[in-house]
């Protein structure tokens, strides 16, 4: 079976979120792998948004451009998204149209007259989709009952009635126009977003404190931890601004609690002084930077990979720092645990770079067993110090870390250049350079903790796509698309961006660097670090994620 791609399009507040979420559940309940991503305007009502759902036999966690089915809830949605429909695709919509590809079902009218209230229009639409997709009505009823279980008998009955009505209407309309069929399968998948994986991983890693200021697309992380306070036990504080957020997290970390914050570009800009503070005071800190297109407020709800160099260079002065960019929610789980471990081990900030696409998209996994990386703590132990010095100069650069109140030993931290006790120093001859050197020594150690990039099909490849972070799924799919037409592409994918690992690029292969930004930030980073040159680029910077089709098209445009 070829993957089926459904686009649900409509105004904000019109129900596309409910319909999309339910469709994801339904596909999973039928035993299919789903991938979904969202694209929405920065407003609460109106506008035109899309919720795209990809359904397949195997998880392919990448967005598609062309749709098989467009469920357009209004005229504007139809106008905006119809161009994405494949030639043999169909449109389900309350709008009237005589073309053959059109299933015209006036959801709201039917809901009002047949069921009693227009609020059932969305369930009617679901019924129509289920029918067009060839899903099972009984399974669907079960899922719908479950979803509305808290709403009372009457609501459940009405929803089921609406579902069946939509299902039957579309059934009659579909005739021979809906070739899809999704019979029940045994398979079950884990379906989750990075904004769900990261907070779970953080709590697992031992994070006990999060402070953040709401900013799309990072807000889901603190919200998840607030919602799960009783199970995960994380102290959650909505700060008055991002400066407070990062400083609170630093305070909590200094006092012994693993701590984090999460934000997006503008908020991260406000946190930068704090990141430098964590570097200077050698306080472990994990910051999630969920990217969206800038500059300034940019496109608040869209996606981009525009802050790579900003993250790598964040913070005045020189201090060690790590930047990790996970490629999917499973990788995000691993990298989150790794971030807390390394922040603790090297007593320094670690930045987790995600983006709106990764934060909000549902990815499917056959297995989700992220247990290879386990939480590790690096406390110094209170017993073995004749005289405790928080910033003792050591060979490794790592000083013994205790927390205040743990023992009689006093823990003194300072943002000024300091001596081994944590007191201000202006000793330029010995202490200042020794401290600077000690901090930078940790960067050399950190370098040893990073892994080389992932290589896929590089041997025998004619050229290699080089990518980072959340674009992995699309690049992998692009490679297989190209291979299908005899074009031998490979992939080198980076998820550990700073410090960069020791790595030798395969010799003599043309490199094409693929990024969700305009200026080629990975290119610049790689050029400075590995002295490589690339043959070409694939950049996308319209606020939408890279798709395999897009990558292939741009590659061929450059190469005839």
């Amino acid at each position: 079976m070829q993957d089926i791609h459904v686009i649900v399009a409509g105004a904000a507040g019109e129900g596309i979120q409910t319909i999309g979420d339910l469709l994801v559940r339904l596909a999973a309940a039928h035993g299919y792998a789903v991938f979904s991503w969202k694209e929405y305007e920065s407003r609460i009502r109106g506008g035109q948004n899309r919720y795209a759902v990809r359904i397949g036999m195997e998880p392919v966690n990448a967005p598609l451009s062309e749709a098989d089915i467009l469920l357009a809830l209004n005229k504007g949605a139809l106008a905006k998204y119809e161009k994405l429909l494949k030639d043999n695709g169909i449109i389900i919509s309350p709008e009237k149209d005589n073309r053959d590809r059109f299933l015209s079902i006036p959801f709201a009218d039917i809901a009002k007259h047949e069921i009693g209230q227009t609020i059932y229009a969305n369930t009617l639409a679901i019924g129509a989709l289920v029918s067009a997709l060839g899903m099972d009505l009984e399974i669907t009823k079960g899922v719908v009952k479950n979803v509305f279980s808290k709403k009372g008998e009457d609501m459940i009955d009405k929803n089921i009635q609406a579902l069946v009505e939509g299902f039957n209407r579309a059934g009659r309309e579909c005739r021979d126009r809906c070739p899809w069929n999704l019979p029940l399968r045994e398979d079950r998948y884990y379906v989750l977003t990075a904004n769900e994986a990261i907070p779970m991983a953080a709590a697992y890693a031992g994070c006990r404190f999060i402070s953040a200021y709401p900013m799309t697309p990072s807000t889901g992380i603190i919200t998840f931890l607030a919602k799960e306070k009783d199970r995960l036990g994380v102290f959650v504080e909505q700060a008055e601004d991002e400066i407070a957020a990062v400083n609170m997290a630093i305070g909590a970390s200094y006092a012994g609690a693993r701590a984090m914050t999460a934000t997006s570009g503008g908020g991260f800009a406000l946190m930068v002084e704090g990141i430098s503070l964590a570097g200077m005071t050698e306080t472990p800190l994990v910051v999630v930077l969920a990217q969206r297109p800038g500059p300034a407020t940019g496109l608040p709800t869209r996606t981009a990979q525009g802050d790579l160099l900003f993250a790598v260079n964040a913070g005045h002065g020189e201090f060690p720092k790590m930047v990790l960019a996970p490629s999917d929610p499973l990788d995000a789980f691993y990298k989150t645990v790794m971030a807390f471990n390394l922040a603790d081990q090297y007593q320094t900030p670690v930045i987790l770079l995600t983006d709106q696409f990764l934060a909000d998209s549902h990815f499917s996994f056959k297995d989700f067993e992220p247990w290879d990386v386990t939480p590790k703590f690096h406390w110094a132990g209170t017993g073995n110090h004749n005289e405790y010095k928080r910033y003792r100069l050591t060979e490794s650069g790592i000083s013994p870390r205790l927390y205040p109140g743990q023992s009689k030993h006093l823990v003194c931290a300072d943002s000024d250049e300091h001596n081994e006790y944590g007191h201000i120093t202006e000793d330029l001859e010995k202490m200042a350079p020794a401290m600077a050197k000690k901090r930078m020594l940790k960067l050399d150690m950190l370098k040893k903790s990073v892994h080389p990039p992932e290589e896929v099909a590089t041997k025998g490849a004619d050229f290699i796509l080089v990518s980072w972070g959340s674009t992995r799924g699309s690049v992998l799919e692009a490679i297989s698309l190209m291979r299908g037409t005899g074009v031998k592409a490979g992939m080198i994918h980076f998820t550990e961006l700073w410090p960069l690992p020791k790595y030798e690029f395969p010799r003599g292969k043309a490199l094409y660097i693929v990024e969700n930004n305009a200026s080629g930030q990975l290119s610049r980073l790689l050029r400075s670090q590995y002295n490589i040159s690339s043959r070409g680029f694939v950049h996308r910077f319209d606020g939408l994620p890279l798709t395999a089709g897009y990558i292939r098209r741009v590659y061929h445009e450059h190469n005839g």
Partner: protein
Amino acid sequence: MSTMDDYQSDAEIQWCPGCPNFGILQAFKKAFVSIGKDPHEICLVSGIGQAAKLPHYLKCNFFNGLHGRAIPVALGVHAANPDLKTIVVAGDGDCYGEGGNHFLHTLRRNPDITVVVHNNEVYALTKGQASPTTPKGERRTLQFNGVQVPPLQMLAVAILHGCTFVARGFALEVDHLQDLLVSAVEHPGLSLVEVVQPCITWGTHPLKWYQERVRIVKEDYDPTDRSAAMELAMTWGETIPIGILYQSGPVETFGHDYRHTVTDRPLTELKPLDKGLMEKMLSEFRL
């Protein structure tokens, strides 16, 4: 029992000789002895400025962070370990200027910490520019024709926004200040102590000017009277009232929901999450 010597730091003091900050330092040591906490049970948090150097001159835990950001760091410390006596030491520029937003919102949070503001009506460390508390009309090194705008009245703001302990002290009234600090630290909830701390280098008036004006509030003054407290908080001129201006409460403190439902112990004492729980949570995503 601790003694003054227990809080004696070896760090070299960088203040100008004769600065009233020394009085505040002395009051702190005396207060710590009265409170009966050992150095390791106390955590001082400061930002940047002359005042913010004070933690270096006392022996206890401290976090000397960024200009303006002492309060959020202190909130994090207190959230992580409510057993520590967390005390913020800040200048008026540090606390009311650069960190003004944190100050405002922390009034609402009511954390069980103490904030001590050295009010010298100037940015001393950066060489004498106006601060948010510089009186209108007074000249500073950047305000050649005098400050054009009125000063902030943060003690009044604190009372207005529910701070349940608001006091004003004077750096040269060491014993009185000691008592204020003891009461402040022992008060459940946020306590604010603003200390009149004349700057002998950049200030407009000689010490005598302050000594003549400072008046300890009368014995029979009722600090639970909010309007009277507002009045005194805004009094700065012919007289400068010092003492506990306002005290009420107790009211719910920062993190009370968490403290009641998860733990009232330091967060370091929480057990690691069990892998079984994580598997259970993840299984909820298996659709």
